[in-house]
Symmetry: C2
Subunit: 246 residues, 2 copies
């Protein structure tokens, strides 16, 4: 048996999320179906760095799997990409040590969230970015973001359904870049709670549109109460961009 | 009755082309359905600057229609965009003189064709750009393009199914811009024959990949024979970008 590590991109708009489930098309389901074909009908399980929700995209999801086949990285890429549907693509594949674990060995993750503003919706962005009708005060959003970087208990910024006990995470970076009417938020952290990026984006949008004061952010963090933060921003703007290992 | 002119963008990937037809979802069909709703069930026809094929996109298709309703441009935009599916969007609407005609008054059109190169397909571009596996000699493509600008009989560069008799057209511009692994071709001409842009792109790809000599282009033009030019490039890379009026 050889363990392999692979980097995968997918357009999340046609999937009920990454993780396999009884109903609906999933990224994991499609990959495991191909692995089963490549292994003459034998099931081969895949482990990812983490799940992504329905509609969320990945530019650099990382997975691992074990196989008796000895293929080179390029051979795996060709095999997967010829058999996978065209909304998933293997970008990289390589041998990994037998104790490599895509989830437990991940030390940092980068997410990006794409927003565009304008009075009229753009049909080309409907699955790929969040839409804001009015203009945004990006300077205020940057200042608010400054209160969120560092190590905090992010209970107020994760779904009430979160089962994880320890909600302390470190957000190393929360950057914003403007390109014309597009705003790209980049998050790098040691881990992200359920819906954490989307709730932070929703809260920053409240700041950017003037609905919330910058000064409210430290209070919301301190209160550990999800109801005080903004709405969960839509899935279509979110991309798992990169997973970092030691 | 007032004539209105409107600019419309659509993601062509979910349509069987622009023009209404007995089967399949069309852009014209969706727009006319909304117009019928806005006119209490009365059918209102729409005329476009021209058709686009299945899978072809538009950033700036222009249409006209007549209506007894007196709405401002913003009111039409809001009415259309709240009732249309989210892969079509009205960008602009305005009153036009009663003799304005979206097709016959068009004096120039701009198309863009998006290509990306790379060993691995990109799931985010599968509906929005053509994919080239190897690298391209863009300088050779530029030189070949130089033979195509100007006024020519483009019989070799239109579908054999073209019914138009006069195939003389003027291509004012055929520019290429590279952005990383992306190549964008811009065409401005006084009119385009059926599949003309896609056949020119397919032919330039033969030049760029070394399959065809630059010097072959004038001979292909002179021969007026579709079989000598390259393949029709895929629909997904093509965008009707702008329509120009006097």
């Amino acid at each position: 048996m050889q363990r392999y590590k692979a980097t995968v991109a997918y357009d999340g708009s046609g999937f009920s999320g990454y993780q396999i489930q009884p109903k609906g098309r999933t990224v994991q389901g499609e990959i495991e179906q191909v692995l089963q074909k490549l292994h003459k009908g034998h099931a081969v399980g895949v482990t990812a760095s983490g799940r992504t929700d329905s509609g969320v995209h990945a530019r650099g999801q990382v997975i691992h799997f074990d196989s008796p086949l000895r293929l080179s990285g390029d051979q795996w890429i060709k095999a997967f990409n010829s058999l996978l549907p065209d909304d998933i693509s293997f970008l990289k594949a390589e041998e990994a040590s037998s104790d490599f674990h895509a989830r437990f060995d991940a030390v940092k993750k980068k997410y990006k969230y794409f927003l565009y503003s304008g009075p009229v919706r753009d049909p080309f962005k409907r699955h790929f970015a969040g839409h804001v009708r009015g203009s945004l005060n990006v300077e205020a959003m940057r200042e608010a973001a400054g209160h969120l970087t560092g190590t905090h208990d992010f209970t107020s910024f994760c779904s009430a359904k979160t089962e994880t006990g320890n909600r302390v995470r470190t957000l190393f970076e929360l950057d914003m870049e403007e390109h014309g009417n597009e705003l790209v938020l980049t998050f790098i952290g040691d881990g992200f709670l359920y819906n954490m990026v989307r709730i932070i984006v929703g809260t920053l949008l409240d700041v950017g549109s003037g609905k919330m004061d910058i000064g409210a952010i430290p209070d919301i963090l301190a209160a550990k109460d999800r109801t005080l933060a903004g709405k969960t921003a839509p899935a279509e703007g979110l991309y798992l961009w990169e997973v970092y290992y030691e």
